[in-house]
Subunit: 309 residues, 4 copies
């Protein structure tokens, strides 16, 4: 089943679990999948920045993809295929789709600057992977340094019928969601799905601006899914109450460079994965940082019993 513009809900960005000696931990993959499904995931994204994708051998990337596809059944699995060259991007995109992926996600390379360079890049990328593969634009200037205006995103959508989703993680980005939804309203852009990332730091309001859901890696995906559902149900205050209870930890996780270490540490404590090991080069938490996370978890547990670990 292919990804389309109706996608919504909770698409966790999955980490890749490793054993302490650096092998892919297949048992943890299965646990992780089970926990994501229990948390209400409506899909999943693998091999993103958070998934340590560049540290995997090509066959490993496919194996991870296949395992998620098997585990998620009829729910869509999106595969990150960003690469410095189109040969590698095409190879992984087509191989992943053969394994059953629902679509791919493409981030722009960091050297792109002008509007024409960005739209041109997506045209060429889609020519390379083929127009039959649904794709997601990743808009993440904080890490990628590439800035896409709403008009540029609209042009990519209009020029490439296989574009079905925006992973929105501009920062600040609330007005961008409103601008894109206005483009849909005035008929100048066809509808796309907008799932938001950036660690979830603005998920509460992103939903109110018109996002369809969350695509990020916070270590309590249940919360992300519940905020999405509450907002869709019009339960604004309850959504914010839940979100605010998690915000101190979520903010701590969203730190660039350190975030993955925090997430894996919390996920390990929660039993999602067996080890918080990263492949080299990886970041590690100091004892002081681990104590800070433990403190945040203890405080969170007063509001959300899932944090009592």
């Amino acid at each position: 089943m292919l990804l389309d513009a109706s996608a919504s809900g909770l698409f966790p960005i999955a980490p890749t679990p490793f054993t302490p000696d650096g092998r892919i931990d297949e048992g943890s993959l299965d646990t992780l999948i089970a926990r994501y499904l229990a948390a209400g995931a409506t899909g999943v994204t693998v091999l993103g920045i958070m998934g340590e994708a560049p540290k995997l051998e090509p066959e490993e990337s496919l194996a991870v993809t296949a395992r998620f596809v098997a585990g998620f059944g009829r729910l869509p699995v999106i595969v990150g295929v960003s690469a410095p060259g189109f040969a590698a991007m095409r190879w992984l995109a087509r191989a992943a789709m053969e394994k059953g992926a629902a679509g791919v996600m493409i981030a722009p390379p960091t050297h792109l600057r002008t509007d024409d360079q960005i739209t041109g890049y997506y045209r060429q990328a889609i020519e390379a992977i083929g127009a039959d593969i649904p794709f997601v634009i990743q808009d993440y200037p904080l890490t990628l340094t590439v800035q896409m205006t709403p008009k540029v995103i609209r042009q990519i959508v209009q020029e490439n019928p296989s574009c079905v989703m925006l992973k929105h993680e501009d920062w600040p980005g609330l007005e961008k969601i409103s601008a894109l939804r206005a483009f849909q309203q005035d008929g100048s852009m066809r509808p796309i799905s907008i799932l938001t990332g950036n660690g979830g730091l603005f998920l509460d309001f992103e939903m109110e601006r018109g996002a369809d859901g969350a695509m990020t890696g916070y270590a309590f995906p249940e919360m992300l899914g519940e905020v999405v559902r509450l907002q869709k149900a019009g339960e604004r205050d309850r959504a914010h109450d839940l979100f605010d209870a998690h915000l101190p930890l979520l903010r701590y996780e969203q730190q660039q460079g350190v975030g993955l270490a925090v997430r894996k540490y919390v996920m390990m404590k929660r039993g999602f994965i067996a080890s918080d090991a990263q492949r080299k080069p990886g970041s590690a938490l100091t004892a002081a940082a681990r104590a800070e996370v433990d403190y945040l978890l203890a405080r969170l547990a007063r509001h959300d019993p899932r944090a009592a670990l």
Copy 2:
């Protein structure tokens, strides 16, 4: 009185209040000063990025400085003097000190890359302004793109006796505070004051890592000062309780580019300034954003009555 390494507490980063037609609003300057003092400020920083410094004529910069010096009495006023050339930096630094400023703050220009370029820049800047003016290093890679390791900061401190403070706003930056304090402990760096910025997003833990206080522009400076005091008094849980109550709004304010508009809007609602006008080029809040801020204020008011506006 000159700034020295014992500075601590709350140094708000002051916005520059304008009238809707773009003149400096001197009445609001006085109100702002009174409110900062009432909030427990132990000093203040003017003409920073948040102060719209590049939009002021030189004489205006001095006039703002003089007014803060008069209002703050014996409390230190730090003046941002970052400039593309040393002629302008020297002129403003010396003129500000003559007006009674306690010290100056210098941010590195965005093109600096290597460790030697950064340390060399500070040597030359201090040679230009004179070694008799106490200065603050501004370490803000998120906006300035310049990355200083703890070793580089140590070298600047050791090479320049007039360096007395670090405005710490690296992100993530908790380990940097620990590393710098360890340098003091092992005797390789003389003690400096560390006040933290970055919108206050990690103030709760920065205090625990060894910061001396806060230097940022959040629209409830009282909260910043109270968290500093509570942490110094060992009241960790109460510090976090207060901080967490403000975090949803604080996070909203910390957005790059939009933050100043949010802050001026809240400060206007609080009566700190008469208008939230910015000089051109300025950012403005959409109606949707204003409504979001109002909602955050209403929610905050349940915990902190100062937010009931």
Copy 3:
């Protein structure tokens, strides 16, 4: 007399001559002006990057401008007014025009990325300085990191009637000149003057692509002017012969960061200025570099007797 789109020929980018102890050398200013006029300058640009503009006090900037205006008589003097804020830009632009400048040059700040940011910046800058001052766009991505497509330049030209010239120093940039001239041909952009910079490294072909002249600081401005004239006269081979003879030295001068030191050294040897001193922070030539320049001059002298020093 105001600058207009008919400007052509040789506009040297003037260095600012200093005495060894850092004062502006007014005698050298007069010599420099006389030598530029003797070299066939049809105008001049002062206070550019090469003019060490950020190292000058505001009154010094105006004094330099006034002296060039006096010396150049009816020939146009363009003044670089790029600044981090519009207050300083407006002040210098209006003050320079009152002193008799013919127009101003504005470079985009280095943080601009998207097409809309760039065109928006020029709209706001012109609103700040006033639409009555003719202005030049400086397009220099190698140093400024801002990339403007031909379409962006066209939009700036069409939105701002006071835009009369492009200082073209994109690299590579030959196709950009062709694209802009094609816009004029198809009627989508009104005519502008295009003078080329980037050290002159491609002046030979830039003239063939449609440039109107040179605006750069090579230490043999006579050569630049002669290449422009020869190309306009259809003497292609002679133009290239002259250019190629100078290319080894010109290439040496075009090095980023070191170029100004080379130029001032050669200009001092040629008697254009009394000292090659730069204000701090400045770059200096090593003995090895000076010997290399001397060697290049000796080689050049075989083809161009002006290099026999």
Copy 4:
């Protein structure tokens, strides 16, 4: 035979020849090898930036490597292995060495800023590929945006015994060569080979500063090799005469982004490769640009008959 610090002479950076429909042109590979050897190559570097490496499938990369190894016999083949992740880097490095490569070249990823980040990166990369593989540092800030001081290069050399060569293409960079050779003289750095790139734009003086040879892709590799030999033989004037004759074309080729198209076009005209096709995304020469190159060749032919095509 493994690469060591005694390497010198001419190491062309090889393009990858493609057929117009995008397949690797194996016949042209053999022709290219024969022409390089006839030009006096003492080694070769494949799969660099110029070799369109990111556009190749992994097996293609190995096939190209194997063909060069076979063709170059006992002369060293260096393989570019830069990659966004260490898994891919390790795989290619080890596979290439098994195919008979003499060493690998590693460029730093563009996000590195501080000295510690750069030296840390090389430590981790060497840990990943293994300390038994001789490696070359690529120092190319113009394209990579990473700035390495001489001290940083020294630290990489001293920390990693398998570092045997620097591909020097800093710009400006003459003083860097002098600084590194001074480090060798004062005993603080063990000797390494320095081959220079950056299109050859400063090869004439780089040899005088202590470079061991050239590693770049100019379409007349014979000239590069001859300048190296003449300088080593103390024939300074003859070296510069030859270099200067080629400089107008060499400068034209050195343009970022367009350079490869120019090189392939000239190499096609010279019979080194059958087609100047690039794999997508590629740059193409306009008719105007081709005519300019033809004109430059005709002018060069007056001094160097090899350019009479």
